[in-house]
Amino acid sequence: MTTTASSMPSPVSAAPDPRAPLPIATPRSEDSKVLVASQWKLMFWRFRRHRLAMVCTVVVLFFYVVALFAEVIAPLDPNKVYNLYRYAPPQPISFLDKDGGFSLRPFVLGMKSSRNTETLRITYVPDPTKRFPVNFFVKGERYKFWGLWESDVHLLGLAPDAPANTPFFLLGTDRLGRDMFSRIVYGARISLSIGLVGVLLSLVFGILLGGISGYYGGWLDAVIQRIIEFIRSLPTIPVWMALGAAMPPKWPPEYVYFGITIILSLLGWTGLARVVRGRFLALREEDFVLAARLTNCSESRIIFRHMVPSFASHIIASITLAVPGMIMSETSLSFLGLGLRSPVISWGVLLQEAQNIQTVALFPWLLIPGAAVILIVLAFSFVGDGLRDAADPYGR
């Protein structure tokens, strides 16, 4: 500030022409980009500073890309049974051969099966004499991408010169000899999409009921809040069990899928409704909303031009924080056998295989879907954290 008035002690002293343009002041930042930056830009700049959240965003995106391109990324048909390789252990991709020699092209070792003479169990050990190089974009089993286009290109696979039925189980196989890696990739599609669809459904309920509650207030607000309190007081697992059991067991898998999402969102909308209500209540008292009302803005303009943009970022953060809850819920339901069932592949369904101590002790690779759940849930939580911190870039 260079105006002379700034040195005057009292407000009643004279100042120069009040309409003389003020010097261009950039009080918050020297960067002129900031001055014309919309809230989304400001939010993104702030979000970018949250390292962990950035890393986790990449992780989340990676998972969703995998889910989207499951057919290409899975090397094998997830439902194909390899009779000769039941409970086969993971075959790690390796660059070093047995004498420590380095090969630029990655390879997997073959597998030898032998029967344990005491337990009569078939065990598999790597066969260092057989090396099968791993290639990118190889032709393999035919599939229909998104059920639309036929193709046979897989991201990973054994080089074409490998003999047919050579094992290529990066994360081992299950009880029937199905490839775990392919199953996890396909499971991501169901588990991750249930999270999103469920949250979107509960967002519809949440915005509608929370918005009515917060904007109109009064007895309507009281009724909706009591309903929310009631729903939140229900113990979730028994209610899931009841609702899950209410679904006819003969329903085709798609119906069960939507049934599950609806069950999850019927119970999950309450949190979002509270967020929306709280924002409406806070914004209703803001001066800029009163100012808009006093300049004859219509109700819809006040809601959609002033209030919704002000809490959209908070909603996005809440959604992100709600997705892992949905994923967890689906996993628990399916794990308990109340949600999705085989032949549908979801992480919860895969974890059903790991329900007894025998598998956990002898075939620990059946727990890998659990690791995937943990990873995505953590990643989502950190992204949500970062978004929540960035949601209000105007905090004073």
Binding site: S6, M8, P18, I24, V36, S38, E286, F288, A291, H306
Partner: protein, 352 residues
């Protein structure tokens, strides 16, 4: 610029003098206090309790008082941001003539709001941080169908120039501006529709002292150029003295004294005004008078004392003050006061 001479239609309210723009009579606003699970009303905050005043065309009426005395509520009642519990607010609208704001229809209120605007105290919360200056200042013009498109941009540029901001700032967001600059944006929004009356709700109390002078001069300048009338709500007496033509002093929901600025500051007639004036800081240490320290606290507006609200703290209180509410009476031309003892007292104002 359209003319500010209003059309004389509608019923002229009682007590209106020629040249009045706003006539407020017996304005009452009680806010219910709710408690418990069933939100039962257990009492009322008498925020505004029988306020009457007139605002004349082209003047600035200062409304002063401590925080919680009801001055902001009064100003918002005039804007019909709240519905009053009782009383009338007659406004001489430029196009519709005299209208009682609380009972006016929705269409009439829409019309009135083009001629009745508000400047807010907090330059931060009164501007939507997610809208550019063009959107903020242009909104009243757009919503009321005054201008759109490039015409809107031209009008906003003109308004920005009028309040001393570069028109190039139009694309910027409020976060690019300091408090004083933001308040200029708020002023530009308020004058966008060329209103007759602007209610300034403590427009400078959130600003640095150095910026206050600029902003006050801007308001005075705009008043002269656009023929505006102001209701200027404030608690800073030096600011009020500077800008007001007349001043009304409020205490716990009532007006205790109303007079032209000079009269009020140099010969106050109400003991509360006297005490308030004695608290004005004087920059000259040799001329610091004896400050009157009031005993006790400002009474609770949900349970005010009977009679004159000020009697528990008043040095001159007599028996009648404890039982009877003093009426607002004119004791000199244009000087009204609500005090039983006003005829017998000789009070000190600020030093000339």
């Amino acid at each position: 610029m359209t003319t500010n001479t209003p059309v004389q239609t509608g019923t002229v309210p009682a007590g209106a003098v020629d040249g009045d723009l706003l006539v407020v009579r017996d304005l009452v606003k009680h806010f219910p206090i709710r408690k418990g699970f069933w939100s039962k009303v257990v009492g009322h905050v008498r925020a505004v309790d029988g306020v009457s005043f007139n605002v004349r065309q082209g003047e600035t009426l200062g409304l002063v008082g401590e925080s919680g005395c009801g001055k902001t509520t009064t100003s918002r009642l005039v804007m019909r941001a709240y519905q009053p519990t009782g009383g009338t607010i007659h406004f001489r609208d430029r196009t519709q003539g005299w209208l009682d704001i609380p009972t006016a229809s929705a269409t009439q209120v829409r019309g009135v709001r083009r001629n009745l605007q508000m400047i807010f105290q907090d330059p931060y919360s009164s501007l939507n941080p997610r809208m550019t200056l063009l959107d903020i200042i242009g909104e009243p013009l757009m919503v009321n169908g005054v201008a759109k498109g490039s015409e809107l941009q031209d009008r906003v540029a003109e308004l920005l120039r009028l309040v001393g901001l570069h028109p190039e700032y139009m694309a910027r967001y409020p976060h690019a501006f300091s408090g004083g600059q933001r308040q200029r944006v708020g002023i530009a929004r308020a004058i966008a529709l060329e209103p007759q009356l602007v209610v300034c709700d403590e427009p400078v109390s959130a600003l640095d002292v150095s910026i206050q002078a600029q902003t006050l001069n801007l308001l005075e300048d705009l008043q002269a150029r656009l023929g505006l009338t102001y209701i200027f709500v404030a608690h800073d007496l030096s600011v009020v003295q500077h800008v007001s033509t007349r001043v009304a002093v409020m205490y716990v929901g009532r007006i205790v004294e109303c007079a032209p600025t000079e009269d009020l500051f140099f010969s106050p007639k109400h003991p509360y005004t006297e005490a308030l004036l004695s608290a004005v800081p004087t920059p000259d240490p040799t001329r610091r008078g004896s400050r009157i320290f009031l005993a006790g606290e400002v009474p609770d507006a949900s349970n005010p004392p009977p009679g004159c609200h000020f009697h528990p703290r008043c040095r001159y209180a007599a028996d009648i003050c404890r039982t009877t509410v003093p009426p607002l009476t004119e004791i000199a031309p244009g000087h009204t006061v609500a005090c039983h003892m006003s005829g017998q007292l000789s009070l000190t104002g600020v030093h000339a």
